[in-house]
């Protein structure tokens, strides 16, 4: 049907054909002729449009096309800025999952660290409290051990012994009575100015012209300076058959005076134990 309905294209097609003696020639050239249009091609029209004289209508087209170019460029640049905007849904889910997991991890870490911090803080607090307690205890023990001076209410016991008849036994029993009455710090001074802090290891030995206390020679009159509850201490000295009576029996005189404020400033020199060492702590004991 194209052969009979397209006579316009027959002319150039037949002219270009080099061989046209028989009826077979047009049938062979028919397909080629179909792509040789007589009307101007699209490219021709495009080229003509590009070369056309500018007119007002083109300005509007140019403005719109320019707007498109501008918008497209801006949009492309904006997308470049934001990776997440371009990411696909699956990628976004992955990113979100990762971030959530990371957030959970960090939350756990925060909780853990806060816990550690609390423990450390309370540990430091209890450590400080323990240190304070220990320091206080050490202070108290130091008073009892006689390694520091002490001050407080107490009594003085003055034993005047002109005949030198008050011996170590009496002095020792006096110290025992004072201890059992709650004496916390005891100082013994002699008439010759020597002073001794009476502690747990203190011993009394009869000596020529007096007594030896911890190896220090003391001469009468002796004077105890005792820190403790004054009335209890005084009663412990003065009860019948007690220290005062014993001193009187030995031929001396003992006077007890109560004071609101006494100072024991002689300290005991501690020598490290040579044989004994602290036994290990036994929790079950």
């Amino acid at each position: 049907m194209p052969e009979s309905t397209s006579p316009a294209t027959v002319g150039p097609g037949a002219a270009s054909g080099p061989s046209g003696p028989n009826k077979a020639a047009p049938a062979v050239e028919e397909p080629r002729r179909r792509f040789v249009p007589t009307a101007p091609t699209g490219m021709h029209r495009l080229g003509k449009a590009l070369r056309a004289r500018p007119d007002v209508g083109q300005v509007g087209v140019a403005a719109l096309v320019g707007l498109l170019g501008f918008a497209a460029a801006v949009q492309v640049r904006a997308d470049d800025d934001d990776l997440l905007n371009r990411a696909r849904r699956g990628d976004l889910f992955l990113i979100l999952d990762g971030l959530t997991a990371r957030g959970d991890q960090l939350e756990e870490q925060i909780a853990q660290l806060e816990n550690d911090r609390r423990e450390l803080l309370s540990g430091a607090d209890s450590e400080a409290a323990a240190l304070e307690q220990t320091a206080e205890l050490a202070q108290q023990l130091a008073v009892l051990a006689g390694t520091v001076g002490a001050t407080g209410p107490g009594v003085t016991v003055t034993i005047v012994d002109p005949d030198g008849q008050v011996g170590a036994r009496t002095m020792y029993s006096a110290v025992q009575e004072l201890r059992s009455a709650g004496a916390e710090a005891i100082e013994l001074s002699g008439g010759d100015g020597e002073q001794v802090r009476v502690v747990a290891t203190t011993y009394f030995v009869d000596d020529d012209q007096g007594i030896a206390v911890d190896g220090v020679h003391l001469e009468p009159p002796y004077r105890f300076t005792v820190i403790g509850e004054p009335e209890t201490l005084a009663e412990a000295m003065e009860f019948p058959q007690g220290v005062v009576d014993a001193v009187t029996g030995d031929g001396g005189t003992a006077t007890v005076a109560q004071h609101d404020e006494l100072v024991v400033d002689v300290v005991h020199q501690v020598t490290p134990p040579q044989y004994a060492s602290p036994a290990p702590d036994d929790d079950s004991g």
Binding site: L50, V61, V65, G66, A73
Partner: protein, 110 residues
């Protein structure tokens, strides 16, 4: 000639000036660009078909952009904005392919 220069100038301006897309326009600009692209390819095809008309091009360009943006806006209001955006992009994509196919036939005659 003038439209080609206009396109070049527009792209250069968009690349050179650092313009931030306003937040209110952000969902609509890509759709508007696709719609305008369809209008431009349609215009090119019309030029090659020999039926190009300034007025038709301007009207179709503006109408494409406005309707595409309106559809997306409507979708946003209805809660199906992303789906409608996809629909608009698909439709314009098909049209662009059709137009480009015609242009291709003009250029390569195949």
């Amino acid at each position: 000639m003038i439209p080609a220069i206009g396109l070049l100038l527009g792209i250069l301006a968009g690349l050179l000036f650092d313009v931030d897309v306003p937040l209110a326009l952000q969902p609509y600009l890509p759709i508007a660009v696709v719609a305008a692209l369809d209008a431009v390819f349609g215009g090119l095809r019309a030029v090659m078909d020999g039926v190009f008309n300034d007025k038709v091009f301007v009207v179709s360009f503006v109408a494409n952009v406005i309707i595409a943006a309106f559809i997306v806006f409507l979708g946003d209001q209805l809660g199906v904005g992303s789906q409608l955006s996809t629909a608009v992009v698909v439709v314009f994509g098909i049209r662009i392919f059709t137009n480009v196919a015609t242009i291709r036939r003009h250029v390569f005659r195949a």
